[in-house]
């Protein structure tokens, strides 16, 4: 079996949804899966024990851009790799850093070779090439590596999108070649996923996906979504891309989405997602519950003795009231972030669990209908 192998467990007869198992050197992962984001080798506010034991997280995402700048990939390699450095027993996917280079850093210059960018920490200049980001991620020892891609902003012209997509393609081929060369030296314990781009143009999305399939990668990502476009357009891009990707490989929609969108992506054949929303929104006072959102600073929660979500079994909901959480939020207390993040992540993981259960029990279309009618009712 390949180090990263995907196995389909059940398929929905009416949608593109499927339930699977993604086997990695750090354990098997039930899909569809939501991957919490651990940007700087930590999911903000949670211990690794909270994540692995309490929330049951089997894979998380870390950011190559951030960890390359600080503490540096050589230090992480020296410390025995990212799993050991951050004391994380389960799987890790690292992005290529492309998205951060295009969204976070100040000055940046795209060349055929790669991208020169300025660190957001101290202004130093650095270069990422398709080869170098593979090397950085190999130093991390990530289970799943991502290729360097260009993530164009929204909107861009068809002309620019085409040029950018071809650059992403050429980078993917170079990254793949470099990766095969590097891992030929030692038994491969990883997989490298290329990223389909093409902005909001279905023809470019199709062209990109078709060309990437030639790489016979362990999995494929769809990037460039949630960059400001209307949501129906994101879904259209997935619908254009996904049927071209091999059915026996996991598909990863990068950086999505809101709770009600998760089953929509799954219905379109997506197996993996990641997003900062549950953790970032938690810290900003925006909480997801099975009955809609709660903005915790609102005065109505001042003396509300109820848990955030009566249907939730997370530590926060079994032990603390909305009134106490509001107090912690208004006081700027660390415990607020700790408890709120724990709840929001639990909510996302519960949704994924419900989705998987629905697929396996052949009730996914009904589940999807319920989510759609609930989100039409809400707000």
């Amino acid at each position: 079996m390949a180090p990263i192998a995907f196995e389909t467990v059940a398929e929905c007869p009416f949608t593109r949804a499927r339930a699977g198992l993604l086997h990695t050197p750090h354990g098997a992962i039930e899909t569809p899966v939501f991957m919490p984001v651990g940007t700087q080798a930590t999911v903000k506010g949670l211990t690794q024990r909270d994540l692995a034991e309490e929330l049951g997280v089997r894979i998380l995402l870390a950011n190559t851009y951030h960890l390359y700048l600080r503490p540096g990939h050589e230090l992480i390699r020296h410390m025995g790799g990212l799993h050991r450095f951050m004391s994380w027993p389960n799987a890790i996917l690292t992005d290529s850093g492309g998205f951060q280079v295009f969204s976070l850093s100040g000055l940046r210059k795209i060349t055929a070779d790669g991208v020169v960018f300025q660190s957001h920490l101290n202004g130093d200049l650095h270069t990422f090439t398709p080869e170098s980001t593979v090397d950085v991620q190999l130093a991390f020892g990530s289970d799943i590596l991502m290729v360097l891609d260009e993530c164009p902003e929204y909107p861009v012209s068809h002309e620019y999108a085409r040029e950018s997509m071809h650059r992403t393609l050429s980078w993917a081929r170079r990254a793949d070649e470099h990766y095969r060369l590097k891992t030929a030296e030692s038994p491969a314990r990883h997989a490298l996923f290329p990223i389909a781009q093409g902005s909001m143009f279905p023809d470019l999305r199709r062209e990109c996906a078709a060309a990437l399939v030639d790489l016979d990668a362990g999995g494929y990502a769809i990037g460039g979504l949630s960059v400001g476009e209307p949501r129906p357009l994101s879904m259209e891009m997935v619908e254009a891309t996904e049927p071209i990707l091999p059915r026996n490989r996991p598909r990863y929609a990068m950086g999505v989405g809101m709770p009600a969108e998760l089953p929509e992506y799954v219905a379109r054949g997506i197996d993996m997602m990641d997003c900062v929303l549950p953790s970032r929104n938690a810290r900003n006072g925006y909480l997801f519950t099975s009955r809609g959102r709660i903005i915790i600073k609102h005065a109505r929660y001042k003396d509300d003795p109820r848990p955030l979500d009566e249907n939730c079994r997370c530590y926060t909901c079994t032990r603390y009231s909305r009134a106490y959480l509001r107090h912690l939020f208004l006081s700027g207390e660390i415990l607020y972030a700790v408890l709120a993040t724990r709840h929001n992540l639990r909510r996302y993981l519960d949704i994924m669990g419900e989705i998987r259960h629905a697929i396996i029990s052949f009730s996914f279309p009904e589940y999807l209908r319920c989510v759609r009618s609930a989100s039409t009712d809400a707000e």
Copy 2:
């Protein structure tokens, strides 16, 4: 048995140290005890489960000044009291707010009646009287309440210290009377501790203590220490005060101290201590270990794979390296505060456990000698 009763379990034959049990409506507490500080109804960075189950904390301190201003004692009363509001099953001691009024608020004016002060949150004017702070703490439902005192800065003249001490005494009498009146209506489930003051003048300390003993309180505190005076002077003040306090009551040294000072206070007859040092220093990157301090930002820890303290059994030390903690600290990550606070508190609680064990096994003088020689060697 009184709601708050103190029982001596063992006494050191050579020092004033003793091991005891402090019985409260929320459980028995082994003394000497260090009480973590939960200023705003949370010990910064730790969940109540971390505190109670992992660290074994049996009593914590919360701040009347902060909770009176936000969320307010009436809200807390309405929510069923502080234990329920913050979901804390064990004992709570609240201070009177005096120390914060004198150190945190901007404008403040002492009158015979009490003290008028400005909120550090929004500048609003408020008044604390000996009676009102008892009422606020009764609204909290604290197990141990403290009387309003004046905590003079250091240094002050003998004349000012005398005047201030007499004000504190008169406030203590008023608070005591008010407390007895209020709790006469319902079965008392609390104790009110008066606070001995007198700045750095042994004669005033003795006069104050002797007068407070007449109140026949459930316990006594020594306040006004660690306000900038040299440490030998703090010890001298405890030595002047403590022999006057009844031996069958717990004695609480407020706001102390550094790790090596803890057994010094115990040797002088102190049973209870609290301090923000372990938690605040943790957040500032200053960590206490059984082999001295660690300033985590130092470059020497950059690739140090060792735990903070090889002798420590806390979650942080059993799972994370100095290198990872340093990375989290430099990245300003919440997890740093979470892990560092957990370790520093564990260190303080371990020291108290060692002290208690030494007293019970009649080896406390030897233990004290070891601590003294180690702290002379260190730094």
